[in-house]
C-alpha cells in the first residue's frame, strides 16, 4: 500500500493517513498501536508485528476533547485526544502513551479511562537525562513495554524480530537523512512540505513498505539548486498544520536544519545492531538531541541551535511555538534573549492545531524575512 508512493502521494497521505492505515489494517489483519510523540521506542512495537502509528493531531473540528481538557491545555494534546475520541479511535487496538509534561500525564489518564477495552500503557520516559539513573530507567521502561506487549499479544519477541525491526527503522532514518541532505543542498528539488511530509508519514505507516517508496523517490531525484532561497533552521517540538510548510515554500525558505521531534531528532541515534538490542535502544534515547524543552534547559537548547545555525550557515532561526505549551513558554523568553545576543535573527511562529486561517502567520513571516533581506534586523 505504501510501497510505490511518489512525492505527491506522500504529501496527500501525510495530511490524512488514516483511511489508508485503515485499509492496510483490513488487508493485512494486523493491529494498529497509537502513540503520541516523544520517545516511545516504536521499534519494539513493530517487532511484535504491530503497526506503530504516531498520532500528530487532527485537522477536523474539536467536539469531545474540550470537555476533557480545558482551552488552556496545549492544542496538540487536545487535538490528539479529539482524533482518538471522535474520529479514528476504532482503528487502534491499543495505545502506548508517553508522559513528558503535566498535560501528557493527564492526557494518558483521560485516554485510558475513555478506552477501557483497549490496550493502553504509559511509557514513562525520564524527565532528566544527565544522570546514570536516567539510563537505567529508560532500559527498565523498554523492558516493561516489551512485557506488556507480550502479555497483550500472547507473543514473545525474539532478538531476530527486534533486530529486523531496528534494521528497518534505521533504513528509514538513513533514507530520510539522505533525502534531507539532497534538499538542503538543492532546495529546488524537494520542497519543505515534501520533506516534512515524508518524515511525518514515516512515523505513521509501515516502514518496510515505505522504505521502498523513499528509495525510489531518492533514485528518481534530479537535483536542482533553485534560486533565491533563504536558509533557515527550524526549532521546536513539531510544526503543524502542514500548510505552514507551504508558507515556508512560498517565501522560498530552505529548512537546512531542525530540532523537531518529528524532524531531525527522529533521525538521530540509530541503534547499533551488534550488541544487546535493548541496550542499543536505550542508548538511542541519549544519542539523540535532547527533547527540548523537557530534557534540559535553555542552555543546551541554545547551544544546539547556535551550532546548527553556524554549521548550516543559515540566515535565521524560526522557532515554532505550540499554543499553550507551558514547557516551551518557560524557556522561550530566555532562549530568545540568548539568540538575540548572539546576533542570530529569530522569528517566533505561534501555531495551533485546528487552525483554519494561516494568513496572520504568512504576514508576520513575510515581514520578518523582508526585513531580514533589507538587513534591518
Amino acid at each position: 500500500m505504501w510501497e510505490s508512493l511518489n512525492l505527491k502521494d506522500v504529501v496527500a497521505l501525510a495530511r490524512d493517513p488514516y483511511p489508508s492505515i485503515r485499509q492496510w489494517a483490513r488487508d493485512t489483519g494486523k493491529k494498529v498501536v497509537g502513540s503520541t510523540i516523544a520517545d516511545v521506542p516504536e521499534e519494539v512495537i513493530y517487532a511484535f508485528d504491530l503497526l506503530p502509528v504516531t498520532i500528530l493531531g487532527t485537522h477536523k473540528p474539536l467536539k469531545k476533547a474540550p470537555s476533557h481538557l480545558p482551552d488552556n491545555a496545549c492544542s496538540l494534546a487536545r487535538s490528539n485526544l479529539e482524533l482518538a475520541l471522535s474520529y479514528e479511535g476504532d482503528l487502534f487496538s491499543g495505545f502506548v502513551l508517553p508522559q513528558v509534561c503535566d498535560t501528557t500525564q493527564h492526557l494518558s489518564d483521560i485516554w485510558r479511562i475513555n478506552f477501557p477495552d483497549k490496550f493502553v500503557v504509559s511509557y514513562l520516559a525520564p524527565r532528566q537525562a544527565d544522570r546514570p539513573s536516567a539510563r537505567y530507567w529508560v532500559k527498565e521502561e523498554i523492558e516493561r513495554l516489551i512485557e506488556s506487549l507480550s502479555a497483550w499479544t500472547g507473543k514473545a519477541v525474539n532478538d531476530d524480530a527486534l533486530r529486523r525491526s531496528i534494521e528497518i527503522h534505521n533504513e528509514t532514518r538513513r533514507l530520510l537523512a539522505e533525502l534531507y541532505d539532497i534538499k538542503r543542498k538543492n532546495p529546488g528539488t524537494i520542497t519543505n512540505k515534501q520533506l516534512f511530509s515524508m518524515m511525518k508519514l514515516s512515523l505513521q505507516v509501515d516502514k518496510a513498505e515505505f522504505n521502498k517508496s523513499l528509495r525510489s523517490i531518492k533514485e528518481g531525484i534530479k537535483p536542482k539548486k533553485g534560486k533565491g532561497y533563504t536558509d533557515v533552521v527550524l526549532v521546536g517540538i513539531t510544526c503543524d498544520p502542514p500548510e505552514i510548510f507551504d508558507i515556508f515554500d512560498e517565501l522560498k525558505l530552505n529548512i537546512v536544519g531542525d530540532t523537531l521531534v518529528d524532524g531531525t531528532r527522529y533521525l538521530q541515534g540509530a541503534p547499533a545492531l551488534n550488541g544487546n538490542l535493548i541496550d542499543a535502544l536505550a542508548d538511542r534515547h541519549f544519542k539523540r538531541g535532547f527533547f527540548s524543552p523537557i530534557h534540559d534547559n535553555v542552555y543546551k537548547n541554545f547551544e544546539e541551535v547556535k551550532k546548527l545555525y553556524k554549521e548550516t550557515k543559515a540566515k535565521a532561526v524560526v522557532y515554532v511555538h505550540i499554543e499553550f505549551c507551558e514547557s516551551q513558554e518557560y524557556d522561550l523568553p530566555d532562549l530568545k534573549d540568548m539568540i538575540k545576543k548572539e546576533g542570530i535573527p529569530m522569528h517566533v511562529l505561534d501555531t495551533e492545531y485546528q487552525t483554519t486561517s494561516l494568513s496572520h502567520v504568512l504576514t508576520r513571516a513575510q515581514a520578518f524575512f523582508e526585513s531580514l533581506k533589507g538587513g534591518s534586523l
Partner: protein
C-alpha cells in the same frame, strides 16, 4: 495562666525563627535550597540545607491580592498569562522586589520534584539561569496502576535519591549523615501522623475545622517537616481542636451545618475568607480536599529511609492517576460524610486541574451528589468573575436543597 504557646503563637514563632535562619544561612555556613512543596525535603534538613519554598512566598503575595501587579510585570517580559500564578508572581517579585513579606533569601541550589508538577522544574530552571546555579530534578514517574511498575518506579526513585545525596555532598563538600536522616524521618513520620489527625477532625459533626483552617494549619507541615518543632506544633494544634470537639464547637453551629463540602484543587487565595463567609451563609462548610492531604505522609520507619521517602513522594495525589485520585476522594467523602462538592478549575495549575473534568464525572457518578464546577485562577484576579461565582454558588445550594441533600441534623 499557662505559658504554653497557642498553635497560632507557635506557628508564628517557628516561622519567624525559620526565616531568620534562612536569611542568615550563609553566616552560619549553610546553603539555601529552593524546593517544591512536595519534595523529599527530609534530605535537605538532614544535610543542614535551609529549604525555601517560593510557592509559599507566592501564596502570601497572591492572598494579599498582589497577583495582577506582579503577573503583569512578567507578561511584559514575554511570559504568557496562562502560566502558573505562583511562578509568574515569583518572577515578578524577582524583577520588582514587591512583596508583602520580607521576601525570601536568594537560592544556592534547587531541588525540583516532579511529583507535584513539571511547571516547577521549568520555573526553577528560569531562576537557576539567573545565577548559573545547580538544579537537581527528582523525576517521579506517574504512580500508574500497574503494581509491578510501581515497585520499579520506587527503585528508580531510590537511585535518584542516592544521586541527590551525592549531588549535595558535592555542592556542600560535606559528607551526608544517614543517621541524621533517620532522626529527621522520625520527626517527619510523627508530625505527619499528627497532621493527618488534625485534618481528620473534620469528621466530627459539626466540624471543628474547615478547609480554611486546614490551609492555614498545613503551612508548618510544608516548610518545617523533619523537625521536633513541627511535631510540637501539630500536637498543640490537635489538642486545641480536640478541646473544641469536646465542647461541641463547630465552624458552624451544629444546627446550621447543612452542607459538608469537598473542595477540589488549590484555593482561590485572594478569595479565601470571602468564600468561607459566603458558603457559611448557606450552611456550607468545606471540610477538605486532596490538596491539603498531600502532606499527610505515611512513612514506615522500619524501612530504609530512602525507600520510604521514595514510596511516599511518588504516591502523592498530584502524581497519581485520575482513578486513584477518585478513590482517594471517595475515601474522604465517606470518612467525613460529605454531601456536596466544589470543583475548581484553576487556570494556573494544569497539574491538578486537567484531572478535574474527569474526576468530577467519576465522583458525581459514584456519590450521586451533583458538583459545582467553576473556572478561575488561584492568584490572578483578572480571571475571577465575582458575580458569576456568587450566582453559581447560590444556584448550587438551591439544587442541593431541592434534592433534599441537606444534613438531617440541620434546622428545618
Amino acid at each position: 495562666m499557662s505559658d504554653k504557646l497557642t498553635s497560632k503563637q507557635l506557628s508564628k514563632k517557628i516561622t519567624d525563627e525559620y526565616m531568620e535562619d534562612a536569611f542568615h544561612a550563609h553566616d552560619n555556613n549553610k546553603l539555601v535550597g529552593y524546593t517544591t512543596a512536595i519534595s523529599p525535603v527530609e534530605i535537605f534538613v538532614a544535610h543542614d540545607i535551609v529549604p525555601i519554598y517560593p510557592e509559599n512566598h507566592a501564596v502570601a503575595n497572591l492572598t494579599a491580592k498582589k497577583g495582577v501587579e506582579l503577573c503583569s510585570v512578567v507578561e511584559g517580559m514575554g511570559y504568557t498569562s496562562h502560566l502558573c500564578a505562583y511562578a509568574r508572581s515569583d518572577l515578578g517579585y524577582r524583577k520588582t522586589g514587591v512583596t508583602v513579606t520580607r521576601g525570601i533569601p536568594d537560592p544556592d541550589l534547587f531541588l525540583a520534584c516532579n511529583a507535584q508538577c513539571f511547571t516547577l522544574t521549568k520555573w526553577f530552571q528560569v531562576l537557576a539561569r539567573r545565577g548559573d546555579l545547580p538544579v537537581f530534578v527528582f523525576d517521579t514517574p506517574e504512580h500508574i496502576l500497574d503494581q509491578k511498575a510501581r515497585k520499579e518506579i520506587v527503585k528508580y526513585c531510590v537511585l535518584q535519591l542516592k544521586e541527590l545525596i551525592s549531588f549535595l555532598e558535592k555542592v556542600t563538600k560535606r559528607k551526608f549523615d544517614y543517621d541524621r536522616l533517620k532522626e529527621v524521618m522520625k520527626y517527619s513520620a510523627a508530625s505527619s501522623i499528627l497532621y493527618k489527625k488534625f485534618l481528620d477532625m473534620a469528621q466530627y459533626k459539626p466540624s471543628p475545622i474547615s478547609i480554611f483552617d486546614a490551609l492555614i494549619g498545613m503551612a508548618i507541615a510544608v516548610y518545617r517537616r523533619g523537625t521536633q518543632e513541627c511535631v510540637d506544633y501539630y500536637q498543640t494544634l490537635c489538642d486545641e481542636i480536640q478541646a473544641k470537639v469536646d465542647q461541641g464547637i463547630g465552624v458552624l453551629p451544629k444546627d446550621q451545618e447543612k452542607y459538608r463540602l469537598y473542595w477540589e484543587n488549590l484555593p482561590v487565595w485572594f478569595k479565601f475568607s470571602d468564600h468561607a463567609k459566603l458558603l457559611g451563609s448557606y450552611g456550607g462548610v468545606i471540610l477538605t480536599s486532596l490538596y491539603v492531604h498531600a502532606w499527610s505522609f505515611d512513612f514506615d520507619l522500619n524501612k530504609d529511609p530512602l525507600e520510604t521517602l521514595a514510596e511516599n513522594y511518588v504516591n502523592r495525589f498530584s502524581n497519581s492517576t485520575i482513578e486513584d485520585r477518585a478513590d482517594m476522594a471517595m475515601e474522604l467523602f465517606k470518612k467525613y460524610s460529605m454531601n456536596g462538592m466544589i470543583m475548581f478549575m484553576n487556570r494556573s495549575c494544569k497539574a491538578v486541574s486537567f484531572a478535574v473534568p474527569t474526576l468530577k464525572d467519576v465522583l458525581t457518578k459514584r456519590t450521586g451528589i451533583p458538583a459545582l464546577v467553576f473556572e478561575s485562577d488561584m492568584g490572578d484576579q483578572r480571571f475571577y468573575a465575582e458575580s458569576q461565582v456568587r450566582t453559581r454558588i447560590e444556584a448550587y445550594f438551591e439544587t442541593l436543597d431541592r434534592l433534599g441533600l441537606a444534613q438531617k441534623t440541620a434546622a428545618a
